[in-house]
């Protein structure tokens, strides 16, 4: 690996310095002369008929420029997309409604929009809009919502928006063979992404009549969706994506962009609209709550023979990406285990809760909680070591996924990562406190990186070698903080033999940068990394060809590095890069290239029995924790956390570790404290004092162990890590709680109260 100069090195990110100096301009750090302020009027009921909306008073308020309702939106109802180019059929099409019309489906739904001279006036005007509601009963529990005769959330005849299945073997036969069967139900709650930057941006119309939207978005391809809402040609809407203050899937759907576009279109003035924290928690997507009923059967030696699961998830009020999330959940439902007989059924149901959609892990973290808890239960029941039972059953190279049957032909690191993570816990910590019990937990998992193959994913990148030896990159890649942009610089620097300081990159602009696809699905290292690699290598090929001619050597003998073209094994023989560039330019040899990388393409699967290749590849990992539980208060302290993943190749180890460490704590919050509490559709945790995430004082010692098998589909054999990194820590913690105090917490978060109620049943029963 020593041939790399820049790749594989823990170097500072391209964007780090500007951020450290406070110079980076996020979405809100921008204003235009004459800018108006936008405000959204949100529904105050989770379910209600809109009898009438009177905007007269709001419009009369001095300083108000526009008050818009559904009837002002040219195409108020379109289809939820997330940047895909392939047709995927009705099974995945959800309604995208810009403003509530006739009926509201969740508390917080946008009912009207205002633009005014100041934020205060906009707020006052929104309060002057008179909406006459007739409250409706609504339905808030997905199980209730599934029943015949349930209140209908939408306009359809059922609340079930999708039903997926997949199976292999013979489930009846499997359970008949089983010597031990465990059955249980697990529940996970709504959670928020809790990025520190809320949703927002600034929009304006330029002299070409193009609506420009400067916004933090993971999917700048939404420019097409915004254009369709306005009935404009796609090329009349432009997204200028900013570096995001966190995304985690919450900026994957359209958030405020349509509102911005409508307001600027109607007023012909620049408009700024930013959500407050409360608005953000109230009305952007949440992670899907799931109710998961599982049954597993095993032989006495611990070998799994059957797994049956029924997953019911709450889509909230609109589908958004629910079908996709549920597809991920279905594929992940049997975990990383070889099980001959499997049957999974997944239902996703509309309710009058806040809608759910993408959240880091995209449907994987939820079933992981269930199956990894059950594996642990099985291990205890059969008195097998937690590591041993996983080693015995996990998928290995050449084996296949038990849900879809997708075969793994590259290295499957599960046994390796499981062992490394478990062993790295080291010696058990001694705790003096007589009320504290120590416990350990392990969880393993797999998660896809790259989009579902039937979406026909592509990414593009433009690279140009300048006449002075500097490099310019243009890529539509959005950066949500993971270092996506910097990664492309590193690849180009490596391939073209120039230092990072000579790279300039323009990113995330739908008009000027080649579209690179979404920063979702842990796909950018893989997809845009490969597109950049392809473009840079094309230029490198031309440079080397020219240098070979100039030096009169075989091009295969030449390498590029440190701004030189060098003869392999003879570093004294070289040409400066500049000289070769000059020669190329003189002869008109193109030192620029726009390349496209295409992922593998497959057909849309049969959704009632999803089989075959659905994802390009998977990342394998294991997480282990040591915790203490206070047996009198139920408080859990995570003492040590080990996260071990096969990342293929760590292009920037600092960024990869950053994902693994950050993902672990993101998952720790899910396990122990995070929940958007909704009571009959009303959010009871509207701010960061109620919706709590871990602080620095809550985090344990975290150790990230990187395995680099080189077996990934990304550049240099890299795999994706962003989402896999957070997806199995919750069950590891639940397993550690069981190990410490012998109670199995089956619904997240594992609060002190839940633990105490389980530990002190007698005390609480009488009360």
């Amino acid at each position: 690996m020593s041939e790399f100069k820049i790749v594989g090195k823990p170097i500072p990110r391209e964007d780090a310095r500007a951020k450290a100096k406070g110079e980076l301009k996020y979405a809100d750090d921008f204003s235009l002369p004459g800018m108006l302020y936008g405000k959204v009027l949100h529904s105050k009921y989770p379910a209600a008929k809109i009898i009438s909306i009177d905007t007269t008073k709001a419009k009369q308020l001095p300083g108000v420029h526009a008050v818009l309702t559904a009837r002002d939106v040219p195409h108020n109802e379109t289809i939820t997309r997330f940047g895909q180019s392939a047709e995927v059929g009705k099974g995945f099409e959800g309604l995208y409604r810009v403003l509530a019309d006739k009926k509201v489906r969740f508390r917080g739904e946008a009912v009207a929009l205002v633009a005014a001279d100041t934020e205060e006036i906009a707020e006052e005007a929104a309060a002057l809009i008179e909406v006459n509601y007739e409250p409706l009963p609504g339905v808030f529990d997905p199980v209730e919502a599934m029943k015949p005769g349930a209140y209908l959330v939408g306009e359809g005849d059922s609340n079930i928006i999708c039903k997926f299945g997949c199976s292999q073997g013979d489930i009846k036969k499997g359970f008949a063979e089983a010597e031990v069967i465990i059955e249980d139900t697990y529940q996970v709650p709504f959670v928020d992404h809790a990025y520190l930057e809320t949703e927002g941006g600034v929009a304006w119309i330029d002299e070409k009549e193009v609506i420009n939207i400067r916004v933090g978005s993971q999917v700048i391809e939404h420019f097409r969706d915004v254009a369709e809402v306005l009935g404009l040609p796609h090329n009349q809407v432009r997204y200028i994506g900013t570096m995001m203050g966190g995304g985690f899937g919450g900026k994957e759907d359209i958030t405020v962009e349509t509102y911005l576009a409508l307001l600027t279109w109607k007023t012909k003035k620049p408009v700024r609209l930013f959500y407050t924290r409360e608005e953000s928690i109230l009305c952007h997507s949440k992670r899907h709550p799931f109710i998961m009923h599982y049954k597993v059967g095993a032989k006495k030696d611990g070998r799994l023979v059957a797994l049956e699961a029924e997953l019911i998830s709450d889509a909230g009020a609109y589908p958004y990406l629910s079908p996709w999330v549920n597809l991920y959940a279905t594929v992940n439902a049997a975990g990383p285990y070889c099980i001959p007989n499997v049957k999974i059924n997944t239902y996703c149901v509309l309710t009058n809760n806040t809608f759910t959609s993408a959240n880091r892990g995209f449907g994987a973290p939820q079933p992981n909680v269930a199956y990894e808890s059950l594996m642990d239960e099985l291990a205890y029941k059969l008195k097998i070591d937690p590591l041993e039972i996983r080693r015995k059953n996990c998928i290995t190279t050449g084996k296949s996924l038990s849900t879809t049957g997708q075969v793994f032909n590259t290295y499957v690191a599960l046994p390796e990562v499981a062992e490394k993570a478990w062993k790295a816990l080291g010696e058990t910590k001694k705790v003096e406190d007589k009320n504290k019990r120590i416990g350990r937990g392990l969880a393993i998992g797999l998660m896809s990186y790259g989009r579902m193959t039937f979406l026909h994913d592509t990414s593009r990148c433009y690279v140009r070698l300048e006449s002075d030896g500097s490099v310019l990159i243009r890529s539509g890649i959005p950066d949500l903080g993971g270092g996506q942009v910097s990664l492309l610089c590193q690849i180009a620097a490596e391939e073209l033999g120039v230092p990072m300081s000579k790279i300039r990159i323009y990113y995330s602009d739908t008009a000027l940068t080649p579209l690179a696809g979404t920063t979702t699905a842990t796909r950018q290292t893989y997809m845009s990394g490969n597109a950049t690699l392809k473009a840079a290598r094309e230029i490198k090929k031309r440079i080397i060809q020219k240098a070979a001619e100039m030096m009169n050597v075989n091009p295969e003998k030449l390498v590029i590095g440190e701004e030189k073209i060098i003869v392999k094994y003879d570093s004294a023989q070289y040409l400066p890069l500049l000289e070769v560039i000059k020669a190329c330019n003189t002869e008109g040899i193109e030192l620029f290239c726009e390349a496209q990388f295409k992922g593998p393409f497959t057909m849309v699967p049969d959704l009632s029995n999803i089989r075959g290749t659905i994802f390009p590849d998977f990342t394998f990992g294991a997480q282990a924790v040591e915790i203490s539980v206070d047996i009198e208060t139920g408080q859990v302290e995570v003492l040590k956390l080990v996260t071990c993943y096969d990342v293929g190749k760590a292009i920037n180890p600092l960024s990869v570790e950053g994902q693994m460490e950050g993902g672990s704590i993101y998952g720790m919050g899910y396990a122990l404290m995070e929940e958007v509490v909704m009571e009959k559709g009303v959010t009871l945790t509207p701010s960061f004092s109620e919706y709590i995430i871990p602080t620095a004082a809550d985090v344990p010692e975290v150790e990230a162990i990187l395995v680099e098998s080189g077996g990934g589909l990304g550049p240099y054999g890299a795999k994706g890590i962003g989402e896999p990194s957070c997806s199995i820590i919750a069950p590891a913690i639940l397993n550690a709680i069981y190990d410490a105090v012998g109670v199995r917490i089956k619904s997240l978060p594992a609060t002190p109260e839940k633990i105490i109620r389980a530990l002190k049943k007698h005390y609480f029963e009488g009360r």
């Binding site: 500072p12 520190l196 966190g246 924290r277 600092l654």
Partner: protein, 159 residues
Amino acid sequence: MMEEYPIELTINGEKIVSTAKAEESLLRFLRRHGFYEVKGGCEKGDCGTCTVIMNGKAIKSCITLAGQANGKEILTVRGLEKEESGRKLQESFVQHGAIQCGFCTAGMLMTAKAYLDENHQPNKVEIRKAISGNLCRCTGYKKIVEAIYAVAEENQKSK
């Protein structure tokens, strides 16, 4: 007793003479005056992204009235560069990979600066407590703690 009142303060060494609205937070005042490096994350004191240093103490500018900064010296992340201790912290954050999305960084650096100015030999547990008013959703805090610790260690050595 005015809805708008005159205010005079020093921001990063520069004197600002202006007016503030009665209920205006220092955060909003700073951003209105172009100090966009000070970020708002919750505007209720629950996240720490808006942290600035006021007369040597790190505070949350969203729960500080602009008027409370009258006559005071404010330091934001863009003023850090002027002091060696500030530059060291900035560079350490960069080198340690302590910055991901960067939205908490401006506040986190200010907390770290004020803390290290008063505490010369902190251990990592103490650093974690010191930054416990600044949320970070990306990093899991590890690299931030390492970055601050490295500066504290370096300061010790150079003494």
